[in-house]
């Protein structure tokens, strides 16, 4: 249930379900995300995503009108898929539903089955579909549904064993996904990310416009997931529902390692330990060095941040990871808040705060009105979250350390690193510097040393 006494929502701290699914489909090689619903949904999400990534983000729509809302959207969905095939020549099409099509009761699985029969003579790309009614859950439920749909619908057979690791990274940045791939490769294994947005939403300048940006996880890699050494599935909340990784374990015996989003030292240690286990290799030297440097930095910077009071908000798994990290550097997380409502949030926050004398307040299913009301009396020194908290940071005159999605008021959100020792290092530097900058700004002395 939501921890809020109010009926209305003001400045929501969550996004809608189909957005999460569209993001996941964007991370599959040659895939065009397709929303079955009214035209506006696709356009709004595109705009929202483009403002963060500054990259093309095409999402097709079945563009239903009044007639289709009454008589069913099947014909438009089929026609839309044919048009996407003509224009994009996609390798996969990922269809997600919306509140409109869920409510009128379109049976997408059946419509797609009919489509495949009707047009069986054409060279059809595989069609994946996820059920994502916007009135149920947040963008993270949409994300999870799409990852699960990919595992359930595209991985049909036990593949030959290969030295690969499946990674379900959750909604992290393109830079995070690049870093994860490097880490897995450094253990001598091949990473298979679902999804992989490292290039599709952070691509280079090229000679020609790519209809579908290159990058993403290929269909053949996806199909080979059933032969991988194991699956790394991030997110303590993610792990409590039915997931793609769990399905690969139960259907093909691919061991699923469910661990927290690897933010900070302890959660990253868990990820590296899992990779050591899967590869039989010790931690590669460069990462051991990163870890050592991180601990060294923790020591060098500890006094600047000790006891600083932080409010952290955003999607559940990201907040849990950030709180875990803040707890280990001596920052006091005073409030952890999320728009999600898994009913697991409070417990997981308590677990990652076991090294603190006091666990932070938690609020699930809340909006920024609730968060502000709660935080105002707590005299925070720091906000940590996406850019939609800016108006509160400004009102309270405290720094906002921008993380996650969306970051609409700063440049380079897609290149923000959060994960692994290196991500922790970047976050630590940014937080220490946010505190120092604030001290310097309010000080009457223009001091030149820290």
């Amino acid at each position: 249930m939501k921890d809020s006494p109010y009926v209305s929502t003001t400045n929501a701290c969550k996004l809608c379900t189909p957005l999460g699914a569209s993001m996941v489909f964007k991370g599959i090689k040659g895939c065009v995300p397709f929303l079955h619903g009214s035209q506006g949904c696709a356009t709004y999400m595109r705009r929202y995503i483009i403002s963060h990534y500054r990259e093309p983000m095409d999402i097709a729509s079945s563009a239903l009108g009044e007639k289709q809302a009454v008589f069913g959207g099947g014909p438009n969905l089929k026609k839309g898929i044919l048009n996407v095939m003509k224009k994009y020549d996609p390798e996969v099409i990922g269809v997600a539903t919306t509140c409109l099509t869920e409510t009128i009761g379109d049976d997408v699985a059946r419509i797609l089955w009919e489509f495949q029969k009707e047009f069986g003579d054409l060279d059809l790309p595989p069609l994946v579909h996820a059920s994502t009614p916007s009135y149920s859950g947040t963008h993270m439920e949409g994300w999870r549904s799409a990852v699960k749909a990919i595992c359930d619908q595209l991985v049909m057979e036990k593949a030959p064993e290969r030295d690969a690791v499946n990674v379900m990274p959750g909604f992290v940045s393109s830079a995070d996904m690049r870093h994860l791939k490097d880490i897995v490769e450094d253990f001598g294994l091949t990473p298979i990310l679902v999804p992989d947005l490292s290039e599709t939403l952070d691509g280079p300048a090229l000679y020609d416009y790519e209809n579908i940006p290159s990058g993403g996880t290929s269909l053949s890699d996806i199909r080979s997931m059933s032969g991988a050494r194991g699956t790394l599935e991030f997110g303590r909340i993610m792990a409590t529902a039915s997931t793609g990784g769990q399905g690969l374990e139960s259907r093909f015996g691919v061991k699923n390692h469910a661990i927290g989003l690897p933010i900070g030292l302890r959660e990253s240690d868990a990820m590296f330990a899992a990779l050591s286990g899967m590869s039989g290799e010790p931690m590669p030297r460069r990462h051991a060095m990163d870890r050592g440097r991180l601990v060294d930095a923790y020591v060098d910077g500890h006094k600047y941040v000790f006891g600083k009071r932080a409010v952290v908000y955003g999607e559940e798994d990201l907040v849990i990871g950030l709180v875990s990290f803040l707890a280990e550097i001596g920052v006091t997380p005073i409030l952890a808040a999320t728009g999600g409502k898994s009913n697991r949030f409070k417990d997981e926050i308590a677990k990652v705060c076991d090294i603190l004398p006091e666990v932070p307040e938690t609020r699930q299913g809340v909006d920024f009105f609730d968060i502000a009301e709660e935080a105002q009396g707590m005299a925070p020194d720091l906000l940590v979250g996406h850019s939609k908290g800016y108006r509160y940071a400004k009102a309270w005159n405290v720094p906002l350390v921008r993380v996650g999605f969306p970051i609409h008021d700063r440049f380079g959100g897609q290149r923000t690193l959060h994960l692994g020792y290196r991500g922790a290092q970047e976050l630590f530097d940014r937080i220490v510097n946010a505190v120092l900058e604030r001290n310097q700004t309010v000080s009457p002395v223009g001091y030149g040393y820290l």
């Binding site: 109010y6 009926v7 209305s8 929502t9 003001t10 929501a12 996004l15 809608c16 379900t17 189909p18 397709f34 009214s38 035209q39 506006g40 949904c41 696709a42 356009t43 709004y44 999400m45 595109r46 705009r47 929202y48 483009i50 403002s51 500054r54 093309p56 095409d58 999402i59 097709a60 729509s61 079945s62 563009a63 239903l64 009108g65 289709q68 809302a69 044919l82 048009n83 996407v84 003509k86 224009k87 994009y88 020549d89 919306t98 509140c99 409109l100 409510t103 009128i104 009614p133 916007s134 009135y135 149920s136 947040t138 300048a205 090229l206 020609d208 416009y209 790519e210 209809n211 108006r391």
Partner: protein, 455 residues
């Protein structure tokens, strides 16, 4: 099987200079075509949202509200209630059992909390399907709370942005005629169709004030409920922006007999003509007004024209593309580019009408590509074909330009510099110049190769 333009969209792409232009427009967007258009709700939301002292409650699932939270950064000189995003955040059980109770409770709560002058309640797709009686709830809450609670019938799937504009105008029209107009002077106007995204309405108001014209209501940039209530008192409605507010002007004309003229504040000619047209309208009531209008134009041009010279020198001969929501904006942009010595080679809009496209056919150079309801692949195709240097559009068009090594000017959501008025022409020229002349293009593969360098 890849096609740049889908068969069914062929009628929505024309080339000027080959006889009268016959555009197949005002159609529903084609499934799977990746239209740049949004929905009915979007149309209503962008028109009404700058009314700063009203509560804007989106009745629906959270997405519709969250993606339109302060969507265009419309500025207010006073209250900023419009910059918050209110939603009923409908959940599964509301969809099953109906959302009316939740809507009632949300309105009760939010009106008590913020004491707005009025509340707009936006309908979304889902509300249209589950059959909530928005009108009845709004009537009931109007009585209970003592402020107008106005339903906006903007179910997303019931058409495109145009229908949304109309729903917004209908909603606003319920306010018009409810305020005291006894002190409105005879030389008075309403400004319709500017949304004050970067302070433009303040610039335009100042010109009118220098001419001796009183502005009664801004509709809707920096708008206020009480001003809209008095809008029927203004002698003339000056309407900018194609579809957005024209309907309201027509409704006011029909019911209150107040005429309207169309205007545009973009570019030198259109800005000046708009001031002259207003002066012309009032010249019998106020014989000195034309002279004052001329003085405004003269003073502004004296400052502006010399400052444009340096930009013109660099920009002369460069090629521009335009893709905007309403076609009316495109007319002015074409002239503005001409003034900078540039050539428009591609122009399109999301919601242009037959007349709009006919006009575009007339004012563009032969060979210009004109397109209705385009999409990323068509736009990228034409930009390459025409070897465009600068593209004007909104956030969704920006990556298309940048990936092709083409400069870009955001004429919509994220701009922070005023682009209207005489000063706006300067800002526009400066931004086009900054993007076109940046040294970064020489490093972009497409440009580097064109310049004969090795890949």
């Amino acid at each position: 099987m890849r096609e740049a333009i889908l068969e069914e969209r062929r009628g929505q792409v024309c080339v000027s200079g080959a006889g009268p232009l016959e555009m197949a427009c005002n159609r529903d967007s084609l499934a799977g075509a990746v239209s740049q258009r949004a929905c009915v709700f979007c149309g209503s939301r962008v028109v009404l949202y700058p009314i700063a002292d009203a509560l804007h409650l989106v009745h629906g699932p959270v997405g519709c509200a969250v993606y339109t939270w302060d969507i265009r950064g419309a500025l207010s000189s006073g209250p900023e209630l419009h910059r918050l995003s209110f939603s009923t955040d409908l959940q599964e059980k509301d969809v099953i059992f109906g959302g009316e109770d939740k809507l009632r409770a949300a309105l009760d709560e939010l009106i008590d909390r913020h004491s707005p002058k009025a509340a707009f309640v936006y309908s979304t797709c889902i509300v249209g399907l589950i059959g909530d009686d928005l009108e009845a709830v709004c009537r009931e809450m109007t009585e209970k709370k003592g402020i107008p609670v106005i339903p906006v019938q903007s179910e997303g799937f019931k058409g495109n942005k145009r229908e949304g504009y109309q729903a917004a105008c209908k909603a606003m029209f319920t306010l018009v005629g409810t305020g005291d107009v006894s002190d409105v002077p005879p030389v008075s106007i309403n400004i319709l169709g500017d949304f004050n995204l970067a302070g433009e309405i303040w610039i335009i108001r100042e010109y009118f004030e220098r001419m001796g014209v009183t502005v009664v209501a801004n509709i809707t940039g920096d708008g206020r409920v009480d001003d809209i209530r008095r809008a029927h008192g203004a002698a003339l409605n000056v309407v900018q922006c194609s579809g957005a507010t024209l309907e309201l002007a027509k409704m006011i004309q029909e019911k209150y007999g107040k005429p309207f003229i169309r205007a545009s504040y973009l570019g030198i000619e259109d800005m000046a003509e708009s001031l002259y047209a207003v002066a012309e309208h009032f010249k019998d009531v106020d014989p000195g007004i034309m002279e004052r209008a001329e003085a405004v134009v003269r003073d502004e041009l004296a400052k502006l024209l010399p400052s444009l010279e340096k930009f013109r020198k660099d920009l002369k001969g460069k090629k521009a593309a335009i893709y905007v929501g309403g076609a009316f904006k495109a007319f002015s942009l074409i002239k503005a580019f001409r003034h900078l010595g540039m050539k428009v080679v591609l122009v399109g809009s999301q919601t242009g009408t037959e007349e709009d496209y006919e006009e575009l056919g007339k004012i563009t150079d032969p060979g210009t590509i004109i397109v209705d309801d385009a999409n990323p692949l068509e736009l990228s195709h034409f930009i390459k074909e025409k070897d465009v240097d600068v593209f004007v559009g909104g956030v969704k068009e920006r990556p298309i330009a940048f990936k092709l090594g083409v400069g870009f000017c955001d004429h919509n959501h994220e701009r922070k510099e005023a682009l209207e008025g005489f000063i706006g022409m300067y800002n526009f020229a400066k931004e086009i110049h900054a993007s076109a002349m940046s040294p970064v293009w020489r490093f972009v593969p497409r440009r580097a190769l064109a310049a004969g360098e090795k890949e």
